[in-house]
Amino acid sequence: MDLVVQGLVKAFRLLLSGDPEVLEITLLTLRVSGLATLISLFLGVPLGLYLAVARFRGRELVVGAVNTGMGLPPTVVGLWVSILLWRNGPLGMLGLMYTPTAIVIAQAVIALPVVTGLTMAAVQQLSPKLRLQVLALGASPLQFWWIILREVRFGILAAVMAGLGSVISEVGASMAVGGNVRGYTRVLTTAIVLEVSKGNFDMALALGFVLMVLTYSITYALTIVQQRRRRW
């Protein structure tokens, strides 16, 4: 218990002193996980819309894969992205291994099924008759998708929260493809693992505190928007 209290005190001191390394790690974490979430949205939302309405052979297989992917172990993603980006791997010539970009890619892969699955689920909750009604209102195909997107906007907001939450808190993939290089690819989670292993619990606690506050404030802001229209 002492350890925790001491750690917390030190942690606050660290935070209040505006430690430049903590700040740098925090900003990188935000940049990497934010970008990864954004990419997963650009790919996952259209994919989710498509999977919700499409009829094709093997659709259940794809949907099953997406649903499984929602719980994809980050370590496994890290492994596969490593194999792809490795010097002798198929994308080795890009020289992305152990760069922040590599983490973005791995995290986007982790968030993609989450965003896709939640978008799909949100669309499937709409009345199927709404499709005919929107077309009957005179919507062109583009207008149709725009209206459907607007109808599921709160579902997509949930997808953003879940996607961001899944990547900002993962450590396995960031470690595997980023390598936790100080001042370059070190993010909050990998830094915490390192500090714990070195026995620097105060630093670990400080970083953990930052991560929690960060995640909570972002999610809180989105929650405010989401709950403004609560009907239950």
Partner: protein, 248 residues
Amino acid sequence: MTAVLEARDIVIKKGGRRILSVDHLAVEPGEVLAIIGPNGAGKSTLLTVLACLDLPTSGAVFFHGRRVTRANALAVRRRLAVVFQEPLLLDTTVLENAAIGLKLRGRRREAEAKARAWLARFGVGHLAAQQALTLSGGEAQRVSLARAFALEPEVLLLDEPFASVDVIARAGLIQEFKSILSSTGTTAVLVTHDFREVSALATRVAVLFDGTVQAEGPPEAIAAHPRWGALADPRTASGAGSGGCGWH
């Protein structure tokens, strides 16, 4: 005079089964054509095709004499309006719901004024700012009707539009709808299985049974028909739910 909407040799198959087969059905300008028949007769399927929301397996729908194809269906749809049994409002304000059709047609400037006027006409003008999904069933269906009229459609297609409105509110809404329909001279196709709606609103009736048009004529003639007259009898055709009893 050419018909506004015309179905010729329409066949519709769903899941390998022929569910509709209509040789000829025309909607003339200014008329209110009622399509009646029991559950499963194919009324909704027929309305969907007439509304150009679905192309028939074979045959075609003609709009002002021109064949409706995949390429021109959107342009035709934009001259029609459809009201379904459920109000199917979007998750936004009542006003936005009533204005959306005009906005989709690029007529943003007039959209909200028209929407307000039609909401008022259907007695829900005071709800304009309210979120549509918080409305009662009857209010929502009034908004759905206002949304359709705001488009000033050349043909208004309605699929059992009063079935989801409770019995007490229904008679009043039908009367308001009737006066609006006649004052605007709107051409309409009304799917129903309640003959009281037919007597109140229709100028002509088509009886649909087993996917084919079995009889066509003025409401009085259908009511007097030896076989289909049963429809007009409230004891055998009780309206919502069980249009099928006493048919054979």
